[in-house]
Amino acid sequence: MADFVSRGFGGGRRAPEHLAKRMPPGQYYEKGFPVLTAGPTPRVDLASWTFKVEGKVVSPGEWSWEQVAGLGLEQIPCDIHCVTKWSKLDTSFGGVSLDRFWDRVEPRGGFAVARSTGGYTTNLPMEDLTGGKAWLVWEHEGTPLTPDHGGPVRLLVPHLYLWKSAKWISQIRVLADDYPGFWEANGYHNRGDPWREQRYWND
């Protein structure tokens, strides 16, 4: 199968040559920021919004918007990769590292499920959410995150396919065992590493 060449195909949308190494396999170079969401965009009211961290932790926590914003605003330059094949390079988000929350709650499980307002869920091993690899974000390229992109506050885990970066995040539950989230139960890969092209169940 590796030898198959598509008759008459030259490749019409390659990334600029100096960026080609940053494109995971099967991804194409996208300058925009497409929106992919299962279901309608929920309306989240920041005045009543909270972020909870629960489950297998020493001390569960709940933060209001003011408390989350009060943790500081870190700029996170990154490349993002969507399983629907587009990658956006050299973008940036503003938010706070999840490590700040882990310091407070002290997780004791190896897995987590992130939950969104509206009911969306996605599962990740704690390894992917700790050590400066995951953030709560509320700005994109210097402006407030819009609702269709997950605003007011979303999860950002840029080293995995973007469905792991739950929009409209409201809760992270730490678990002893792995438990598939929404797309993970609907045919998509459990981990979703774009560099290993882990798109679907058998990848």
């Binding site: 929404f182 045919g187 058998n202 990848d203």
Partner: protein, 234 residues
């Protein structure tokens, strides 16, 4: 012959091409390792250049899973498209193309009733698989389609849209058109909606935002509205 892993790449053969509109064609592919899809599911297509460069895209299946051994992918030619341009400018009957699938089990119709299908432009493609499969398996089941297109020249599957279809022409209706004109609105939704069951909305992000907002206003709960979005927004 040993069976491939479900979802593994395989080489399909183009066995038929149908011009649907000025910018849309349907490609019938014969698969050696065919499995029945759920209406609404997609396949991935992969193109490989002689130097090893590869491009992939996802395309919804338009055909019913009762078409054993074959799938039909309906492809809209995008202005800066890489893979859609290849379909339209290069592929001819007899060509081979790498595909894998079917994938994703969220935006699928498993016989849910009543079902309201809401499509904008080429967003009708996965909905047509549902419509076709329902006609073959349960023609009496409650299913309606709201279909928004710009002009009469943009109507895909025109000869298959029956009395369950509510078309609106968002830009220019055909001569003598007595139906709905303009963008999808509360009036059109209220005429077609069941108010219960499931709604499947597919189209550009802007269309899906508008249509799902109208469905929420019409009494559908967020969990009753399944959406599939495509296209860049910025």
């Amino acid at each position: 012959m040993e069976r491939l892993t479900p979802g593994a790449w395989q080489i399909a053969t183009v066995v038929g091409i149908k011009q649907e509109t000025h910018s849309v064609r349907s490609y019938r592919l014969k698969l050696a390792e065919w499995v029945p899809h759920l209406p609404g599911q997609h396949y991935d297509v992969r193109l490989t250049a002689p130097d090893g460069y590869r491009a992939q895209r996802s395309y919804s299946v338009a055909s019913s899973p009762l078409d054993a051994g074959e799938i039909e992918l309906t492809v809209d030619r995008l202005p800066d498209g890489e893979v859609s341009a290849y379909f339209h400018e290069v592929l001819v009957v007899g060509d081979q193309i790498e595909v894998r699938g079917p994938f994703a089990s969220y935006f699928v119709w498993r016989g849910e009733e009543p079902a309201l299908l809401v499509g904008g432009a080429s967003g009708i493609v996965p909905l047509m698989s549902m419509l076709r499969h329902r006609r073959l398996t349960s023609p009496g089941s409650a299913m309606r389609l709201i279909y928004s297109v710009r002009t009469a020249d943009d109507v895909i599957f025109a000869d298959e849209l029956g009395e369950e279809s509510f078309i609106t022409f968002s830009r220019r209706p055909p001569e003598g058109w007595m139906g709905h004109t303009g963008r999808i609105d509360a009036g059109l939704v209220s005429r077609a909606a069941f108010g219960e069951g499931v709604a499947y909305v597919c189209g550009s992000n802007g269309f899906v935002e508008t249509a799902s907002g109208l469905l929420l206003d019409a009494g559908y709960g967020p969990q009753q509205i399944k959406t599939e979005r495509f296209g860049p927004t910025s």
